[in-house]
């Protein structure tokens, strides 16, 4: 009866399942780390792209500043030259000189900044000679003024050549400015787009990370819960296993005890049958053997007389022994039928009062005071009369067996709340409270009953069979008892509805009642 094996296998299978889960968990974590890395990478890339575009914006702003510087330097140079020509004051030449010194660098810087823009380079190429021309013209006028040719210098200025050069330069610088401005606008837009994109990317990454972390948290939690469940399950299985083992051991004990008692119960009547069979057969052989001769005939007559003298006692003892065997076999058969669910019952409407009086009368033949208290009018119930008679006989037999021979046993029948209730009352020693709860269990023999009756303790099937018989007819059976105050055994059946068609209580046929007088328990 080893039920532990499949359970252990179950545990091992679960542990294997758990290790499989651990493996999947590791895979999940790897994927998770990869996802986190990817998120970080995307965020970094967004930030780099943003930085690049910001750099482009700054670059455009630097180009614009450089354009502005060139223009400013030219205007400064022109303003200084005109101030000097008009006033002859050399301090006016300071901006001109500064402009001349920085202008070359400014143009070079501009050229460098726009090295990747062919259109701007082309403009710079046009711009450079124009600037050189302009500076040369400015210088010519300054030189004239220095030599005192103020009028000539003024004429040169007024000639309009310088103005045309400046217009050309201003036009070019304006074009460059416009182009770079457009570029700046575009780059600013790009930078803004990058910023939005980076923001969204980072937000998504952060949210994804949060979701993943939440998933990890849930996974870990589930794994822990699962582990606890497995531990609990394992403890439960172990408990079940122990319980099953205990039950199996108890079942073996019950079986051994049942076999011991059954063999005892069978051996006792067999002892009588065997002893009387041997006795009778020896006596009859003696009668037969001594038929010859007058002396033999006389001896044969003596033997025959002896047999005849004991015939009624022998017959009575044999009848009792056979009755006991019959009862044991029928009890075991009933128990077996009940267990296999094949206890046939033939339910018919009958008078329980009449049945009580009949069974009571049978019990009175044992010489004991068995009193029946039942209403005169019929107490109608649906029942299998033979089986109910069996139950009544069993309970009355127990009451007789367990109470003093000089005390009466009372069978009382009353109708109570739609139920017909039989109560069998004895004045025996009663049943201990801890035993009372078990007396209807199969194979149960109350220890105190064993003390009272010694070897005649019965199979422990009588009351079990009785209760099953009652319950299978829709009835009930129970007991009340107090040590020292006797016992009351109740059997109850639902009262049948009054039926106009019903006229007479059918009589229970002679010999139909089962003669079960089983031992209590």
């Amino acid at each position: 009866v080893d039920r532990s094996e499949p359970d252990t296998q179950t545990i091992i299978a679960r542990e294997q399942g758990a290790s499989g889960r651990d493996c999947r968990l590791a895979l999940f974590f790897s994927a998770l780390v990869a996802l986190l890395a990817l998120n970080t990478l995307l965020a970094v890339r967004s930030i780099q792209s943003l930085e690049d575009r910001e750099q482009a914006v700054i670059h455009s702003q630097m180009v614009l500043a450089a354009i502005d510087a060139v223009q400013t330097a030219l205007v400064d140079a022109e303003t200084g030259q005109r101030g000097y020509i008009l006033t002859g004051d050399t301090t006016y030449l300071a901006p001109d000189l500064t402009a001349r010194q920085t202008l070359g660098g400014d143009v070079d810087a501009l050229s460098e900044l726009t090295a990747d823009e062919p259109a701007q380079q082309a403009r710079i190429a046009t711009l450079k000679p124009l600037i050189a021309d302009r500076l040369t013209l400015l210088d010519q006028a300054i030189q004239m003024r220095k030599k005192g040719q103020t009028d000539a210098a003024l004429q040169l200025v007024a000639s309009g050549k310088g103005l045309r050069d400046m217009d050309a330069i201003g036009g070019l610088l304006g074009q460059m400015d416009t182009a770079e401005d457009a570029l700046l606008t575009q780059r600013s837009a790009n930078a803004h787009a990058s910023l939005t994109q980076a923001t969204i990317t980072i937000l998504i990454a952060v949210m994804a990370d949060a979701v993943l972390l939440a998933a990890v948290y849930l996974l870990i939690r589930r794994a822990l819960v699962r582990r606890e469940e497995v531990a609990r399950e394992r403890a439960r299985l172990l408990d079940n296993e122990h319980e099953a083992r205990r039950a199996a051991e108890a079942a073996v004990q019950v079986r051994d005890r049942f076999l011991a008692i059954a063999s005892h119960e069978l051996n006792t009547p067999l002892t009588t049958i065997k002893a009387l069979a041997e006795y009778l057969s020896n006596r009859l052989l003696a009668v037969t053997a001594s038929k010859n001769g007058a002396e033999g005939a006389a001896r044969g007559q003596t033997e025959a007389n002896a047999v005849a003298a004991n015939a009624s006692e022998s017959a009575e003892l044999l009848r009792i022994a056979v009755g006991r065997l019959e009862r044991l076999v029928s009890e075991m058969l009933d128990a077996s039928r009940i267990e296999s669910g094949h206890l046939p019952l033939r339910l018919e409407r009958g008078d329980l009062g009449a049945l009580c009086r009949q069974v009571g009368a049978e019990q009175q033949m044992t010489g004991r005071d068995v009193r029946v208290q039942a209403p005169e009018e019929p107490v109608l119930v649906e029942m299998d009369e033979g089986r109910v008679a069996q139950v009544l006989a069993n309970v009355l037999g127990n009451a007789r067996k367990f109470s003093p021979t000089d005390r009466p046993v009372v069978l009382n029948l009353r109708c109570d709340a739609g139920e017909a209730v039989c109560c069998v009352r004895d004045e025996g020693p009663g049943i201990a409270p801890d035993e009372l709860g078990h007396i209807f269990e199969r194979y149960y023999c109350a220890p105190s009953v064993a003390v009272q009756t010694g070897s005649q303790m019965g199979l422990g099937l009588g009351l079990y069979v009785c209760r099953e018989i009652m319950e299978r007819q829709g009835g009930r059976m129970w007991a009340e008892s107090m040590p020292g105050a006797g016992s009351r055994f109740y059997i109850a059946l639902p009262a049948a509805m009054p039926d106009a068609a019903y006229v007479e209580t059918p009589r229970v046929k002679e010999g139909e009642a089962y003669g079960a007088r089983a031992g209590r328990g």
Partner: protein
């Protein structure tokens, strides 16, 4: 002829043995438990062959024999035969020792009558009854 005391809680066995042993020429007395058996052993004017059942209420056959074993007068005066309907239950070693010491045979129910009568006759001879 012997005086036989049948100590058995089962009336059927007592009545059967009374009939059969009476027919075999013995004087038969009956008791229903071990305590009554002990009282009869102490009070009997005759030497008795006691047919003791192993399991009885109040005091079983082994209990009676233990009382007998501790009283040399009872052990010498009467003779004993033990019967049991629990043949599968072997007595413990110390009980087996005691049975050997007191010269008590065990008969399993259902026993053969010649065996029981033989055991009773042997016991009767031992006590000179």
């Amino acid at each position: 002829m012997a005086h036989v005391l049948v100590a058995d809680d089962d009336e059927l066995i007592r009545r059967t043995l009374r009939l059969v042993l009476h027919e075999a020429g013995h004087v038969v007395l009956e008791v229903g438990d071990g305590e009554a058996a002990l009282r009869a052993l102490y009070s009997s004017a005759d030497r008795l062959v006691v047919v003791l059942d192993l399991v009885m209420p109040r005091l079983g056959g082994i209990g009676v024999l233990e009382a007998v074993d501790s009283d040399p007068v009872l052990a010498r005066r009467h003779a004993y035969v033990l019967t049991t309907a629990y043949p599968q239950q072997l007595p413990p070693l110390e009980v087996a020792d005691m049975l050997h010491r007191l010269g008590v045979p065990i008969l399993n129910k259902p026993f053969d009558m010649p065996l029981l009568l033989g055991a009773i006759n042997a016991a009767a001879q031992r006590i000179g009854g």
